[in-house]
Symmetry: D2
Subunit: 156 residues, 4 copies
């Protein structure tokens, strides 16, 4: 398998982090990128709690869990103001970026760069910055754990 | 047990109904009033799906399931525009009213009249318009079913 | 709807009750009869816990929850000795009878009398001793609650 | 961390395998050893289905999932005859051994050798035959997946 390098994030606003994050800055660490929308039922019931659990479970490793709010529908309903309340109510503590919009494009920039098909999408990036896994929809805990455990074991 | 009459609803906007609803107009029917907020985790995971299931399960009876969006926090995050997208994404089909606000009061009018303590709150109103059950938090399906089954059996 | 009278139970051994039970002796009460096998996955995960919850929830009413171990397969694997350990480990507290076997018939007597199709089966019997509901497979809590609540409200 | 070598299995009867298994024979592979009792509620609801899912999920890797029926109570209720019906009804397809008993000892031999505290117990053994993880009770999928993924990545 030859893995392609992950494109960079384009984020217009960050929550839960004192500094903006970039994938370039996270090079050398394993990254779990969780793309979601706050009004996507499958995200709220499964993907987002899974990302939160991964953030907690792997806190002593060099895994970085990064959320990305990739709004591609109902834009007026899922503004950063609403997202902030969502993050508060669901007690999310991992860094979450708002995927940037360009012009009138409904699909945000990072979502386009990664060619994501919808939400939730889980993308796992290796220490070398390449995409090692991408999954759209419900991701099995045991399978995701195995991917993360495997990449964390690889020598930097 | 002596039951108090339910106060009337004060709703600023309705979804999923061609006509505004009033409890006076529903007299003679059993009513399950489901008070929720779209960013309340316990509503989204439990209370609101329960109300939707009750709406479907009892569709051939004269039970009326009525949702009430009682926003008492994060007001800017839970506008009717956001609620409309929420209703669409979660495929809710029962009538839902937006609890009206008066002046700068954070607690909406109907929520105040019923003296609700938070969301989700389930209120069951008998055919005679009196409050027969009020529950704050997670409502057990078997217990709620028994209350509804009992009231539906009472002679009008 | 015209309801048929429930046939009598044929039980070879009882657990969780000082005295053998009969449907004749329970006349005047509503009865939830839960037919199960201890090695039936759908019973263990759903039906039996539901019966236990009903037993607890309705303990202040005149509902009688009665379990019936209707072994029709793997007879040597589900003896009363095994059932006793099962009842202990799963902390079941409602009365449970072992459905009697006659000769070499694989299907036990009560199961045959009720013409049950398998396990789990939930049968609800009204105060007048007639069968008001019979369900094979997973029984929805809200729906079962409504049936029980309705029958408990009927005048004796 | 220095890992101790796993003691050998002592099994009186095997299911789901044409040949008896030994840990010595599995040297070079990662092993997930799932110790359970068929009447242990936490095994039936969580541990055993997890082992089955691991068996399916990792079938293309060199993980070996091995079940061990470690009966230390209710011996007459959990005989191999009952276990065989249990395996059939729950559609378990991974190899399962009956932990051997010696004399009148209630605790079976392998359970004693591993000093297990109860059921379910999950033990993960590395390619070198050492115990890398031991967990009593409910094992988180994400955490277990990470352990397995990590060990599978280690060079043989």
């Amino acid at each position: 398998m030859t893995a392609l390098p992950a494109p960079e994030l384009a984020v217009s606003r960050w929550f839960n982090t004192p500094e903006p994050l970039t994938l370039a800055g996270l090079r050398g660490r394993v990254v779990l990128l969780h793309a979601f929308q706050m009004l996507c039922p499958g995200c709220v019931s499964h993907g987002t709690p899974q990302a939160q659990r991964a953030h907690t479970l792997f806190r002593h490793t060099d895994l970085a869990v990064v959320g990305l709010h990739t709004v591609f529908e109902h834009h007026a309903a899922m503004t950063p103001v609403s997202l902030e309340a969502f993050i508060h109510e669901y007690r999310l503590t991992f860094p979450i970026g708002v995927d940037a919009h360009e012009g009138n494009q409904p699909v945000p920039v990072t979502m386009g760069r990664f060619k994501m098909r919808g939400t939730p999408t889980a993308i796992v990036i290796g220490r070398d910055g390449t995409i090692r896994h991408e999954g759209f929809g419900q991701e099995d805990d045991l399978a995701l754990g195995a991917i993360l455990g495997s990449l964390l074991t690889e020598k930097p």
